[in-house]
């Protein structure tokens, strides 16, 4: 399943400056694995050593923060938009 992943500024060193890249996978976990295969190292910036989403990263599939859905098991249907965003904003 092809999905589009929006990359935050601080991770664009991994994507040669690209703000948006495509990846594949049926769930967010698979999408992030594919992303890391294409851009080695980027996965470790989004996930911590135990494989969980880092506490200062927000990940969205479509409009929804995946913490409200099924986390890394959130389905990523064909054409989904995945966004990775630093959490330390606002207030």
């Amino acid at each position: 399943m092809s999905v589009s992943v929006r990359i935050p500024t601080i991770l664009r060193t991994y994507t040669n400056g690209a703000a948006e890249v495509s990846a594949e996978g049926a769930t967010l976990r698979e999408v992030l694995q594919k992303l890391d295969a294409d851009y080695p190292g980027i996965g470790g910036r989004i996930l911590d050593e135990t494989g969980k989403i880092r506490r200062f990263v927000n990940v969205y599939v479509g409009e929804e923060d995946v913490r409200f859905t099924e986390g890394l098991d959130t389905p990523t249907p064909q054409g989904s938009q995945v966004s990775v965003i630093p959490a330390v904003a606002g207030g």
Partner: protein
């Protein structure tokens, strides 16, 4: 001859990650590229003396030696916020059974909320970085503060709010002439939008006060700590009750108190920090009560819209601080918020916005539950003006009577 101090960020030396300690040069960045943790301003203060502060202006710039701003900041066009009243609240103290209580009343700022403090620091950073447009995601008060500060500084502004905010906050955000964009969604969705805009060409050369300027902006809340201590006669309070939206303000007040101790400006003593949330948006309070150190986001539903952040960026630090200092995080429901607004108004003549109702309501609840020490010196924050959230009390705060202009009518109306 004394050389003029031309450092654009004064005593600030860099940005350091609060999570992993990685150090960066001062720049318009906000998240650690190693771990996404929040970046904080690091300083080399040197010696700072009480008399130098006391001889400064009666606004936050008296603390310029403790902030990331140039030495001549007071002469630049900005709103000069701060030095708001610390009200000795004897009537409210008596009603609640407290020995000593003060209300730090930040409704007295230029745009009637504490946000002028943080925005003023962000404006100086925006100038230094050469940004032409000032922006933010806002629950209301910040949008007005940014609009006003940009107008004074001669910058453009474009601010983003949830479209369903209180009328007064929308009017205040729009009146200063910048662009105001309402977004159909919650604050957290507005915030997400801004975080994406910042990585896009559309947002280039924009200073988002609470995104890419957030490390500087957040430091402004330290001035609440400095002022409270100075106004108490260079002493720290024993207990303080602070509202929680993103948690940044509480985190920075704690940082301010610790800096004062470290610099020898106040005596080192324990103080307890209490956080206040509205029940309809209480992710930090829920995590505190459950003994967790991570905050699970919620979808807010409360009349305290200025605190309606369901995914608070500094939530984990609030939990750390409340636990470290022997404090707590508590919440009150909308009914209690309205009652607390009226209680503060009736006892002290201070008309708070809903966020102030949350802090006073939580203060009341903590006293009732025996969590706060009634003998200890206590400070509670009112961070905004009741005129901005009139709807909260408008149905109840009505004329006692409406009569014809005659003594007889008055006598009849008040016969009993």
């Amino acid at each position: 001859m004394v050389l003029k101090d031309a450092r654009p960020f004064g005593p600030a030396t860099g940005l350091s990650c609060r999570e992993c300690g990685t150090v960066y040069e001062l720049g318009p960045i906000f998240a650690c590229s190693e771990c996404f943790g929040p970046l904080e301003v690091a300083y080399d203060f040197g010696e700072v003396r009480r008399q130098d502060i006391e001889s400064g202006p009666t606004n936050i710039w008296r603390y310029r030696a403790l902030l990331p701003v140039p030495a001549d900041v007071a002469s630049k066009p900005n709103l000069q916020p701060g030095w708001t009243k610390l009200v000795k609240a004897d009537n409210l103290a008596a009603e609640l059974g407290l020995r000593s209580l003060h209300v730090k009343d930040d409704s007295g700022n230029p745009t009637h909320s504490f946000k002028d403090r943080v925005v003023s620091i962000a404006v100086e950073a925006a100038r230094t970085f050469g940004f032409h447009t000032l922006s933010c995601s806002s629950t209301g008060n910040l949008a007005g503060a940014v609009g006003a500060a940009a107008a004074r500084a001669g910058l453009d502004s474009c601010v983003f709010i949830p479209a369903n905010l209180e009328e007064a906050k929308i009017t205040m955000a729009a009146v200063y002439g910048g662009r105001l964009v309402g977004i159909d969604g919650t604050y957290d969705e507005v915030n997400r939008f801004c975080s994406e805009l910042i990585g896009d060409e559309l947002g280039e050369k924009w200073g988002f006060v609470n995104v890419n300027l957030r490390p500087y902006y957040a430091e402004g809340s330290k001035t609440l700590a400095y002022e409270i201590a100075e106004q108490l006669g260079w002493r720290l309070p024993d207990q303080i009750v602070i509202p929680i939206a993103s948690g940044s303000q509480l985190t920075k007040i704690d940082k301010g108190f610790r800096e004062l101790i470290k610099l020898g400006l106040v005596e080192d003593k324990p103080y307890r920090v209490f956080g206040a949330q509205a029940e309809g948006c209480s992710p930090v309070s829920a995590a505190f009560k459950a003994g967790q150190d991570v905050v699970r986001p919620v979808k807010p539903d409360t009349i305290a819209k200025s605190l309606a952040i369901g995914n608070p960026a500094d939530g984990p630090y609030v939990l750390d601080i409340a636990r470290r200092t022997g404090g707590a995080v508590e919440d009150v429901d909308d009914r209690e918020i309205v009652e607390a607004i009226r209680l503060l108004a009736r006892t002290e003549g201070v008309f708070a916005e809903t966020a102030g109702g949350v802090t006073v309501g939580v203060l009341h609840k903590l006293v009732r539950n025996g969590v706060l020490d009634p003998e200890a010196e206590t400070v509670v924050l009112n961070t905004g003006d009741g005129l901005k959230t009139l709807d909260a009390v408008a149905a109840e705060a009505r004329p006692t009577a409406v009569i014809r202009p005659s003594l007889e009518a008055f006598r009849t109306a008040f016969a009993n």
